[in-house]
C-alpha cells in the first residue's frame, strides 16, 4: 500500500505577492542560520530565516518590478537578483547590510532567467538574454566584461531564449551553455567559438525550463505542453532525445535536479509539484498543496542529508517547504 504523499513541513507566508524565484543558502556552519531567498512579483526579495520561519530582511532593489531570479554568489553575503526592470543587481548582505553594490543593465524585457557559473575563485560567468530578441550574452562577473554573444544563425527562427544553463564538463575545462528557446529546441553553445554545437527539437511549445546533470551528461526540459523531455549529450557533443514522459496536466514552470542527482522536482501550472527519480524518471510523488500555479522549485544545499529541504513558490503567495526522500 503506497503511503499518501507527505504534507509540507512548513509554509512561509508573508510575501503578499506571487513568488517567482527561490534560492537556499544553508551550507554555512553554526552559528550561521540557514536562509531562503525569495523573489516576488512586488519587487521585494525576502530573506527567510529557516529556524524562525520569519522574514529577516526584505530587499527592495528593483523599483517594485517583479524579481524573477535570485542566486547567491559564494555564501549568503553576496546575492544576485534579476528583475523586470531590466536590471541584474549584485547585493552585499554581510553584517546586516542591504545595499546594491553593482548592477548590470541588460536591456532585455523578457523573462529569461540568467545562469551563473563559478569558473575561478572570485570569478563568475553569467549568461543572460540580451537586448536583441534571439541573442544570449555572456558576461564575466564581477568585472562585467563581455565574454561572448551567442547569436543563432540567420533564419534559424529559434525565438527568444527561455531558459539558460551554464556548465563545465570537468573542472577547469571550457564552459558550455545550454539554452532552451521559444520554438521548443535546446541548443548547446560553445562559448569560446560562440558557435552552436548541437541543436535538438525537444518540444512543440516553448521550453519553459531545463536542468542538466553534467556527470551523466543528461538533461531534462519542460514546456507548456504535457511532455517532459529527457535528452543526453554523447561524446561528439550531440544532443539526442532519450525518452519523454507524459504528464497528467499541461504546463511546467520550473525543473530542478537535486544536487545529489537522485531526484528531481517539477513545478506545474496545475498547482502541483511532482517528484521523479532521476535515474529512470520514475514518478515518485505528487505534492498537492498550492492553490495556484507553482512558479519555482528549489532544493536546499544542507550539508547534512537528513536536513535537506525542497521549497516551492507559487502564485498563491505561499512558499511551501517539504522534507522528502531525505534518507537516501
Amino acid at each position: 500500500m503506497a503511503l499518501p504523499p507527505p504534507d509540507p513541513q512548513f509554509v512561509l507566508r508573508g510575501t503578499s505577492a506571487a513568488v517567482h524565484t527561490l534560492h537556499f543558502s544553508c551550507g554555512g556552519r553554526e552559528p550561521d542560520v540557514p536562509v531562503l531567498f525569495s523573489g516576488s512579483e512586488n519587487g521585494f526579495i525576502h530573506v527567510w530565516n529557516l529556524k524562525t520561519h520569519r522574514v529577516d530582511t526584505a530587499l527592495d532593489g528593483h523599483g517594485r518590478k517583479s524579481v524573477y531570479f535570485v542566486e547567491t554568489m559564494g555564501g549568503k553575503d553576496r546575492l544576485l537578483s534579476q528583475g523586470r526592470d531590466q536590471r541584474i543587481c549584485l547585493w552585499d548582505l554581510a553584517e546586516g547590510r542591504t545595499s546594491v553594490t553593482d548592477s548590470v543593465f541588460t536591456e532585455n524585457v523578457g523573462f529569461c532567467r540568467c545562469s551563473l557559473l563559478k569558473v575561478a575563485q572570485g570569478r563568475w560567468l553569467m549568461a543572460a538574454a540580451a537586448k536583441a530578441l534571439e541573442e544570449v550574452q555572456v558576461l564575466e562577473l564581477p568585472s562585467k566584461t563581455s565574454v561572448c554573444t551567442l547569436k543563432p544563425e540567420v533564419g534559424a527562427k529559434l525565438g527568444m531564449p527561455m531558459c539558460l544553463k551554464l556548465w563545465q564538463p570537468n573542472c577547469g575545462s571550457q564552459p558550455l551553455l545550454l539554452a532552451g528557446y521559444e520554438d521548443g529546441s535546446v541548443v548547446l553553445w560553445n562559448l569560446s567559438t560562440a558557435k552552436a554545437l548541437s541543436q535538438l527539437v525537444c518540444h512543440q511549445e516553448p521550453v519553459m525550463s531545463l536542468d542538466f546533470d553534467s556527470e551523466k551528461a543528461k538533461g531534462i526540459s519542460g514546456s507548456s505542453e504535457k511532455v517532459l523531455s529527457i535528452w543526453s549529450l554523447n561524446e561528439q557533443q550531440n544532443l539526442q532525445v532519450c525518452k519523454t514522459h507524459k504528464l497528467v496536466n499541461a504546463g511546467i514552470s520550473d525543473i530542478t535536479i537535486r544536487p545529489d542527482k537522485k531526484i528531481l522536482a517539477t513545478a506545474g501550472w496545475d498547482h502541483r509539484i511532482r517528484i521523479f527519480g532521476w535515474k529512470k524518471l520514475k514518478p515518485l510523488a505528487v505534492l498537492d498543496y498550492h492553490t495556484a500555479t507553482v512558479h519555482c522549485v528549489s532544493f536546499s544545499d544542507h550539508k547534512n542529508p537528513t536536513e535537506r529541504l525542497l521549497a516551492a513558490g507559487s502564485k498563491d503567495h505561499r512558499i511551501s517547504i517539504w522534507s522528502i526522500y531525505t534518507q537516501t
Binding site: A2, I263, H271, K279
Partner: protein
C-alpha cells in the same frame, strides 16, 4: 408394500389398485417414499423390472391416476429416472397425459423447479413424447403471450409458466426449433409487449428474460434481443434454467448416500487447495524479478492516485448557471455547472427565488449533453433544491406541467419524484434536510418520526436522571429533531391539490385513466407519500377527505400497482389525519372504504393488495379501540 421377486408371471393389477387408492387417500408420501427409491434401484439395469413398473402404473384406475402420477413426478430424483419408471404412460393413458401436460403446467403453479425439470425432461427423453413437449411449449407460450393472463394472473403463476417455458426451450433440438420458429417469434413479440406494459417490475423482468431466451434460441447466429435490467438472484436463477446439466451418472443408492456426499464435499476442497497453491507459485517469481530491477532505485513512490486532470471552474452566480445550461457550447463548463448547481442554489436562496421558475423550467427540460456521472441524480438534486428554496411558485409550475401536453413519461414521473423529495425535506427540520436523498421512493412503513423522537427524548432524560448527571445526551440526533418549524405545512396544499385536480381529464398525449396507467400508479403512490408527510399540518383534514374521494373513484382499477397505491393512500390517511377529525368529518367515506377493504381482502388476485387491505382494516380497528378507550 413388499414385492415378489421376478421370474414369475404375476398380475400386478391388485398392486396398482392398492397403490392408487393409497395415493388418492393422501398417503402419497408414505407409500411413494419407500416405493420410488426401491423401484429406481431395481429398474436401473433390469428391463424386466422396468416393464413391471410400467405395468404397475398403467393399471392404476383413471380416477386415481392423477394422485399417482403427481406423486411420481414430485418424488423422482431426476427426469431419466422418471422416464424409467413411467415409460410412455403419457402417450398411452389419456388421463395421465392430461395431468402431465395440462394440469401440472397450466392449472397449478405451486410446484418446485425440480418438479418442472423432471416433468419436462421426462417428456423430452423419448421420441414419442417429444411431440407432446412441443405441444406443451406451444400452449405455454399461448398463455404467456395472452395479455389478459398477464394482467390478471398472480405473479407467482406467471413466474411458474416462465420457468416452464425456459426449461422447454433448453430441451428443444435444432430441427424442432426450425419447425416452430415462426410461432415462437409471433408469441414472443406479443408476449413481450404485454409484459413490458405491466407496472410491476417483476413481471417486466420475466417478460424480458423469456423473450431474450426465445430470441437466443431461434436466432443463435444472428443479432439477439438484449434487454437492460438489473441482475439479481431471481433473474440469474431463471437464466440458469436454460442450460441443461447432464444427469448424474452415479445415482447413489440409499445406504451409500452419506458416503457419496462426503466424497463430493472432499473433492471440491481438494481442488480449491491445489488451485490456490498453483496461483501462489507464479506470484513469487514475478516479485523477485521486479525486485532485481529496482534494487538500484531504493526510492519508494508515494500514493499518486489523487493526481488527476484539472477541471474548469463552474460559474458562481445562479443567472450565469442558467445561461450556461441553456445554451453554452463549452461542454466542460456545462459539466462543471451541473455539478455545482445544487450547492449554489442552496447557498444563495435569495438569488434563487428571483429566478426559481425559470431555473425549474430549464432543469425540467435539461437533457444529458455529455456523459456526466450521475447526471440524473445531479439534476434531480438541483431541482429539489430549487423547489425547497421557493416552494409555492415552483410547485405551481411543476404541477401544471404534469398535466400539460408533450412531456415524456420520464419527465412526468420525475416531477412526481421531485415533489416527494422536496416534501420530505421540507417536513423534516433543518438538521435532516442535509441528509442524503435516496433514489427510488417507496411508501415507507416506519412509524411517525414525531412520536418517535418524543419517546426517545423522554427515555434519554429518564436514563440521565437515573445516572444523576444533568447533561442531555449529545449522541442521539433525534433529540434535535423535535425543534424546528415544519415548513411543509404552509405549502402542502400547493403540492397536493393540483395533482389531484385533473386526473380524469385526458389530453392527446397523456391519458391517466387509459394507457398511461404506469404514471397513474406513480401518481397514486406520490399522493400517499405527500399525505403521510402532511401529518401535523393544518390542511391535512381537507387533504384526507379529497384523497378518500379520489381513492373511491379509482377503486376498481385493473392494474395491481395502482390498487397497491390506493391502499397505501388509505393507510396514509388513517395515520396522518387525527382520529377525531377522521370520525367527525369523514365517517361516510370511512364506512364505504371499510366495506371496500373487506372485499379486497377476500377477492383481489394480487397478494400484496390483500396484505395492504388487511393492514388497513387493522389500522381502522386500532383507531376505533383508541377512541373508545379515550374518555369522551
Amino acid at each position: 408394500v413388499s414385492f415378489i421377486p421376478g421370474g414369475l408371471d404375476c398380475s400386478i393389477c391388485f398392486v396398482s389398485h392398492v397403490l392408487g387408492k393409497g395415493c388418492v387417500h393422501g398417503r402419497q408420501k408414505e407409500i411413494l417414499s419407500v416405493l420410488i427409491p426401491r423401484l429406481t434401484d431395481l429398474t436401473k439395469s433390469d428391463c424386466i423390472w422396468q416393464r413391471i413398473c410400467w405395468r404397475l402404473v398403467e393399471c392404476v384406475p383413471d380416477r386415481w391416476m392423477e394422485a399417482v402420477v403427481l406423486g411420481f413426478v414430485q418424488r423422482a430424483p431426476g427426469a431419466d429416472v422418471l422416464s424409467r419408471l413411467l415409460g410412455n404412460l403419457v402417450v398411452k393413458n389419456k388421463k395421465a397425459q392430461f395431468v402431465v401436460t395440462q394440469k401440472l403446467l397450466l392449472l397449478q403453479y405451486g410446484h418446485t423447479t425440480a418438479v418442472l425439470q423432471n416433468l419436462l425432461g421426462y417428456l423430452s427423453l423419448d421420441g414419442l413424447r417429444r411431440a407432446l413437449l412441443i405441444k406443451v411449449l406451444q400452449e405455454l407460450l399461448e398463455t404467456w403471450s395472452s395479455s389478459s393472463a398477464v394482467k390478471h394472473s398472480p405473479p407467482e403463476q406467471q413466474q411458474y409458466i416462465s420457468k416452464a417455458i425456459l426449461i422447454c426451450l433448453s430441451h428443444l433440438k435444432e430441427p424442432e426449433i426450425e419447425s416452430c420458429r415462426q410461432e415462437l417469434l409471433t408469441s414472443m413479440m406479443e408476449g413481450v409487449k404485454c409484459h413490458l406494459d405491466s407496472s410491476l417490475p417483476q413481471i417486466r423482468h420475466l417478460g424480458m428474460i423469456v423473450a431474450e431466451s426465445i430470441s437466443l434460441k431461434i436466432n443463435a447466429d444472428g443479432p439477439v434481443l438484449k434487454f437492460q435490467y438489473e441482475e439479481d438472484d431471481e433473474t440469474k436463477a431463471l437464466k440458469s434454467l436454460l442450460v441443461q446439466t447432464p444427469p448424474l451418472c452415479v445415482v447413489p443408492s440409499l445406504p451409500d448416500d452419506d458416503r457419496n456426499e462426503k466424497a463430493d464435499a472432499a473433492l471440491p476442497s481438494v481442488l480449491e487447495s491445489t488451485e490456490k497453491a498453483c496461483t501462489a507459485a507464479p506470484v513469487m517469481p514475478d516479485e523477485e524479478s521486479d525486485a532485481e530491477l529496482d534494487s538500484d532505485d531504493d526510492l519508494i513512490p508515494y500514493d499518486m492516485s489523487e493526481d488527476k486532470e484539472l477541471k474548469t471552474k463552474a460559474p458562481v452566480y445562479i443567472r450565469d448557471c442558467i445561461e450556461v445550461l441553456m445554451g453554452s457550447e463549452d461542454v466542460d463548463k456545462w459539466e462543471a455547472t451541473i455539478k455545482a448547481l445544487e450547492s449554489l442554489v442552496r447557498k444563495n436562496p435569495a438569488a434563487t427565488r428571483e429566478v426559481s421558475v425559470e431555473l425549474a423550467k430549464v432543469l425540467l427540460h435539461l437533457e444529458e449533453k455529455t456523459c456526466v456521472e450521475g447526471f440524473v441524480e445531479l439534476r434531480q438534486r438541483a431541482q429539489v433544491a430549487v423547489l425547497t428554496t421557493d416552494p409555492i411558485p415552483v410547485a405551481k409550475y411543476l404541477t401544471s406541467q404534469f398535466y400539460s401536453l408533450n412531456y415524456s413519461l420520464c419527465q412526468r414521473t420525475d416531477i412526481l419524484d421531485i415533489l416527494v423529495l422536496a416534501a420530505q425535506e421540507l417536513s423534516c427540520p433543518k438538521s435532516h434536510g442535509k441528509a442524503k436523498h435516496s433514489g427510488a421512493q417507496k411508501p415507507c412503513t416506519q412509524s411517525l418520526p414525531g412520536s418517535d423522537s418524543s419517546k426517545d427524548w423522554r427515555r434519554i432524560v429518564d436514563e440521565r436522571i437515573k445516572s444523576k448527571t444533568r447533561r442531555f445526551a449529545t449522541g442521539k440526533s433525534h433529540a434535535e429533531l423535535a425543534s424546528g418549524p415544519n415548513e411543509f405545512s404552509s405549502v402542502a396544499g400547493h403540492f397536493f391539490f393540483p395533482l389531484i385536480q385533473h386526473f380524469d381529464r385526458p389530453l392527446t398525449t397523456f391519458d391517466l385513466l387509459g394507457e398511461d396507467h404506469f404514471v397513474l400508479g406513480r401518481l397514486v403512490h406520490t399522493l400517499a407519500i405527500l399525505m403521510y408527510l402532511a401529518v401535523n399540518t393544518v390542511v391535512v383534514t381537507a387533504m384526507g377527505k379529497a384523497l378518500l374521494e379520489f381513492v373511491w373513484a379509482l377503486r376498481f382499477h385493473t392494474d395491481s400497482y395502482v390498487r397497491q397505491g390506493l391502499l397505501s393512500c388509505i393507510s396514509s390517511v388513517l395515520i396522518s389525519v387525527p382520529a377525531e377529525r377522521l370520525l367527525e368529518d369523514m365517517t361516510e367515506e370511512l364506512l364505504e372504504t371499510q366495506s371496500w377493504l373487506g372485499d379486497v381482502v377476500e377477492k383481489d388476485p394480487d397478494g400484496d393488495c390483500r396484505r395492504l387491505a388487511l393492514q388497513n382494516l387493522l389500522l381502522m380497528e386500532n383507531l376505533k379501540k383508541k377512541l373508545q378507550t379515550v374518555p369522551s
